[in-house]
Every structure is written in structure tokens, then in C-alpha cells.
Symmetry: C2
Subunit: 352 residues, 2 copies
């Protein structure tokens, strides 16, 4: 019997509402597969910030370090500037634990009506592999001439050989592993003068190591348009931190699954815990009403099971999500129904 | 009788095929409105680069300077790295002539089937106002440790008070002028640490000068998703150089008009000529076959008329485009027909 210690950080807003449903589903599946989970709860949030001036205690990262995985809800709430809350909690976790892969499925699901026409489940089914530790998300830079007409701000993106090659390599190996040997690279080497030509150069170099994988290189502007016009053309899309962020929200936008999509922030070498969290944010507009869709959180827990080596249990959870969606009897308002967060969580747990 | 001197740069690929159709339509409309055009042709292109090592002659910008406007086709062709061709022609023109506004309509047109469902012409009708001279498109930065494992590239974005305030102000004034007092700002202040919080700060400051204009601030990831999920919510969207680039390709992607969408690179003070060009690129895959859709180029010419003060003539051209599209008899392959570039150009000229 394998047992796992999971750090549970609901965070802000609807994070605290969807998290219990993910834990419910994990408990349900644990029995089936002879595993057990110990959940350690951490209530770090924008609330903590308002009380202590910090998003997490000074030894916060150390307190997370020895867990097998981290399950995160959502971070950010009105009243605390986003760059304070995110750089005080979410982004340090990604970096300190070297979670350099942000992996997100884009999948048209049964029972979900997407905004695009003429697509069936199966037509849209791909993965976004996003660089998660460097690139455009950087604190390098600053302001000069504050308050004068000459005021200006510099913001420096960082692309290292180490960081670029490892994410590209992961994308190629992942494409081979899932049996879809086709990688599309998001770039903007026609406009962004230094970093993107370098990204292209490394893409070509890593592609040469994987001659059996078909490749495309699309500028981010037309790539976004193609996500809408011809989403069926993609299998694995690899992109920088910023471009990957955009693509992995746009993809679920196209499939109608913003409230449903999961993500893994993965340290593939398992030297550190990986973090699993829904793509959606803390949604202050609907927080506190018990109507948030918990599937993003539950599917994130399924990705966690996969990463922990419990692939069968993970696949079981995904199947349960799909059959509840396909049956269509229990839907939260974002899916056109009237069910509560808890109703939908219980329906999925019952399906297991 | 007003007469205008227009610099005509077809550029690369399909640029040379769609440009004659725009000139045909301009000649047709000129007669109706008692204006005349002198077209000065410049054949600068990737071809020039292969012959001379430069995209344009050393005094290229000076030779363009005294024209009333510039009509551009498309720049970029396989064999010449994109960042070489674009930074050798298109981007210096935008910067040297201080064309700090890149203005692009996103409009669902009659006779065009968009990839999104349940939308009618009129439902999607908004403008992207893109900063066009600074921001993420910068040559600041470089490479260190070339060829070693420590290799790294820095890329620095520049946001000045001058450059940020003027584009934001343009967006607010434009929204008032067109009678749609609602501006959405694209940001990413939760991830991009210095520049985007500054963008937000200036957005709030300029918004305060325009209390009658409604505002939204959306992070670029969810903003892209909303372009697909709820495009009817937008009126004027203002964004940085990179974000505006992405949004103004995604918008036409959503409306099915990538081959049709126009753009203006505008110096609102008219100290320098403005440039009008289609959103599409040089499309090497279909170049030379006479099947490219010329509407993007023709509609760009209509935007040029508008900028030159010939609003009635400009509106006439747009109406001609719309009625030919609505009639549906003459369509290029991208619109599902078999007409040639020339067929469609002639049909629109005839409509005038
Ligand atoms: C060709 C490229 C440099 C250009 C840009 O990114 O500005 C194009 O995509 C555009 O939008 O005009
Ligand atoms: C909240 C924000 C900083 C974060 C990001 O941009 O990485 C989010 O959008 C995500 O995609 O996980």
C-alpha cells in the first residue's frame, strides 16, 4: 500500500470551495487502488498577506518541501495587487521547486458545448507544454525617472540554454511517449529580436535529436488564430512562459472548458514536489456562492495521481469526470446547469 | 481637387498580387470623389536583401518621408530570417515615422462564416488599438556565453511614460469619437513584474481623465479566451505592442477574416506618413498562384482614405467590399470559392 503526503493549499476565492471536492474524489479513489493520502492543510492566501504582510511564512517553502505533491486552489484576490500575491506564493513555488514544466491538456469533452462550431469530442485533443521558471516572467528590470515625463520601465526576459533546452526536450519526449510525434513551437522571432530567434535556434537543435517527430513553428499571433480556426491540427504545443500561459487559457476557451481545465507544474526529475492546480483563477465574482465548477481541481488531482505513478487511479478519475459530464444530469451554472460545487463533486466521487 | 502621393511597397510573396487590386479600387473611387492619386512604386523586398544585403537602400526612409501615405503589402520570405527582413523594413518604418498607433478592426462580415457559432454580423464589431513603437518589440538585449552550457539571452522590453500615455489616450479618444465609450486594457500584471503593473497604473491615470468611458482590465490569457467565448463584449481593446499583435490576429481568426482584415500604422499628428497594410503576411505557401484574397489590401486602402480625410470615399470602399462579400458570387479559395485575386479586385472596383 503506497501512501502519499499531500500539501493542500486552497488559496483564495473559489479555491476554498473546489478543493474539498478534489479531496473527496481522492479519498474515493484511494480505497479502490489501495493507496492512502495524508492531507496537510496550509491556509496561506491573500488573507494571510493582509494580516502578516506576507503571502506565506518565511519558512513556507521549506514546510512544503518534503511533501509528495502540492495541490493548489487559486491565488489572488481584490485588494492585494496581483503581482504581490502571485510573486509571494505561486511563482516562488514554481521556481524554488524547479517545476519547469507546466503541462495542460486542451480537450473537447463530452457534454460540453464549445464556442467553436462543427467540432466533436476527439477533434480537439492536444497538450500545451509551457516553460515555467524563466522567460518573460522575470523580476529583472525596474523604473527610472519616477513621476517625471522621462519616466520609463524596463522589463527583461531571460532565456537560458539550460532552461530552453530542457523544456523543448521534455516536449519532444512527451510527444513520443503519448504516441503523437508532432510538436508545434510558439515563437515570435519576426518581432522579438533576441530571445525568440534564440528559441527557434534551440528548437531546431532539439528537433534534430528527434528526427521522427514532425515539427511546426508558428508565430504566436497566427498560432492563436489557428487555435480557433483549426484546433484539430495540434498534438503537442511547446512555448515560453508567457506564450504558454496565453495558449493554455485560449485552448480551454476554444473547447468551452475554462472552468474545467487542469494543470501540472512539474519537476520531471522528482527532486522536488510538483504542484497541481486548476487553470481557472480565484474568481472573486462568484466566490462564496458554492457554484464554482470543481472539475478543474478534481482533474488536477487526477494529473497528480498520474505524476505520483498511480496512472490507473488517475485515468479512473478522468473517466468518472467524463461520464458525469456526458450524462449531463449534474452541471454547475458555467456548464448551463444549477448544481452546486458539492453536488458535482459528490456525483464524480459516486461514479468512482 | 485633392491629390495624394502614395508610396506603394508590395513587398514579398502575395504582396505583389494583392497590391494591384487595391490600386485598381483606389483609381475607381478617385473618379467618384474628385481626388487623384500618384503612386510611387518601391520594389524593396527580401529579393532586394538577397541582392544587396539590405531590405531597402540606405536612404530608404528619406525617400518615403514626403509621401502622403504608404501602402504596404507584406514583408518576409523563406530564406531570409524573419527578424532580418522585418527589422530591415517594416519595423523601422513604424518607428522612424512615429506610427505609434496600430489600429485594426475586428468585424464579423456578411457572407463570411466564422469558426465560432451563433454569431451574426453586428455581434462582433470592435477595434484593437495596439502600441506600435516600443514595448516588447525591442532590440535591447543580447547573448552571453555563446555555444557554452551557460549560454543565455536577455531581451528587454521598454515602456516609457511618453509611449504608454499616448497610446492609452488615443484609445480613450478613439472610443469617444466612434461613440463606443468602453475600453478594455490587455495586461499581465500578475506575471510580468515591472512593465505590466506600470501599464495598469497609467491605464488608471488616463482612464481618470475620461470618466465617461467604461473600462475593463483583463489579463492577456483570459482576454484571449474571451475573444473566443464572448467577442460581443468588446468595443475598443488597447494593448502593448506584443499583446496587441496577438489580439489583432486572434480577432480576425475568430471572425473568419484573417485574409480580409486591414490595419493602419498611424501617426495621428500627421508629422509623418502613416502606413496601411493587410494583417495577413506574405503567405509563401500560396504566393504566385493568383488566388490570394485582396480584400485585406483593399480595406487597408479604405483605412488610408479615411486617414487622408477622404472619409466618404473610404466608407464607399468598405460598402463595396461588404456588398460583394454578401452577394457571395465572387470568392477566393480562402472564402470557399474559386475566384482569382484579380476577379475579386475587379468585382469590388465594379461595385464602385
Ligand atoms: C511581421 C510582424 C513583425 C508584424 C508584427 O508582429 O508587428 C505582423 O505580425 C503584424 O502584426 O503587423
Ligand atoms: C496567476 C498567474 C500568475 C498565472 C500565470 O500566468 O502563470 C496563471 O495565469 C496561470 O496560468 O497559472
Amino acid at each position: 500500500m503506497s501512501s502519499y503526503e499531500i500539501a493542500v493549499l486552497p488559496g483564495d476565492g473559489i479555491g476554498g470551495e473546489v478543493m474539498p471536492e478534489a479531496l473527496r474524489v481522492l479519498d474515493a479513489v484511494a480505497g479502490e487502488y489501495g493507496t492512502s493520502f495524508t492531507f496537510r492543510h496550509f491556509d496561506w492566501s491573500c488573507e494571510t498577506y493582509r494580516e502578516t504582510g506576507r503571502m506565506m511564512p518565511e519558512d513556507g517553502l521549506d514546510r512544503l518541501r518534503d511533501h509528495d505533491s502540492i495541490l493548489l486552489g487559486a491565488v489572488g484576490y481584490p485588494g492585494v495587487p496581483d503581482h504581490v500575491s502571485l510573486w509571494g506564493l505561486l511563482l516562488p513555488i514554481r521556481r524554488e521547486f524547479d517545476q519547469y514544466v507546466n503541462l495542460r491538456p486542451v480537450r473537447l469533452l463530452p457534454g460540453v458545448t464549445p464556442p467553436v462550431r462543427d467540432k466533436q469530442p476527439g477533434d480537439i485533443d492536444f497538450w500545451v507544454v509551457r516553460e515555467n521558471t524563466e522567460g518573460e516572467y522575470s523580476r529583472l528590470g525596474g523604473r527610472q525617472g519616477e513621476g517625471t515625463p522621462a519616466e520609463m520601465v524596463l522589463q527583461t526576459a531571460v532565456f537560458t540554454r539550460h532552461g530552453t533546452d530542457r523544456i523543448l526536450r521534455y516536449a519532444f519526449e512527451f510527444a513520443e511517449r503519448i504516441g503523437k510525434p508532432h510538436v508545434t513551437s510558439g515563437t515570435k522571432s519576426n518581432g522579438i529580436y533576441h530571445s525568440m530567434p534564440y528559441w527557434d535556434e534551440r528548437f531546431r537543435a532539439i528537433a534534430a535529436e528527434h528526427p521522427d517527430v514532425a515539427v511546426d513553428q508558428d508565430h504566436i499571433d497566427i498560432l492563436c488564430a489557428r487555435f480557433v480556426m483549426s484546433p484539430e491540427r495540434f498534438d503537442v504545443v511547446v512555448a515560453s512562459n508567457l506564450f504558454g500561459d496565453i495558449l493554455s487559457d485560449l485552448g480551454p476557451g476554444v473547447t468551452g472548458t475554462i472552468g474545467v481545465a487542469p494543470s501540472g507544474n512539474i519537476n520531471p526529475e522528482r527532486r522536488f514536489p510538483s504542484t497541481f492546480e486548476p487553470v481557472h483563477g480565484s474568481a472573486p465574482d462568484i466566490a462564496g456562492r458554492g457554484i464554482a465548477n470543481p472539475i478543474g481541481q478534481i482533474w488536477s488531482a487526477a494529473m497528480m495521481l498520474d505524476h505520483l505513478g498511480e496512472q490507473e487511479a488517475g485515468a479512473h478519475v478522468v473517466r468518472a469526470i467524463e461520464s458525469v459530464l456526458a450524462a449531463g444530469a449534474v452541471r454547475t451554472p458555467d456548464l448551463g446547469g444549477t448544481a452546486s460545487t458539492e453536488d458535482l463533486g459528490k456525483a464524480i466521487a459516486a461514479e468512482i
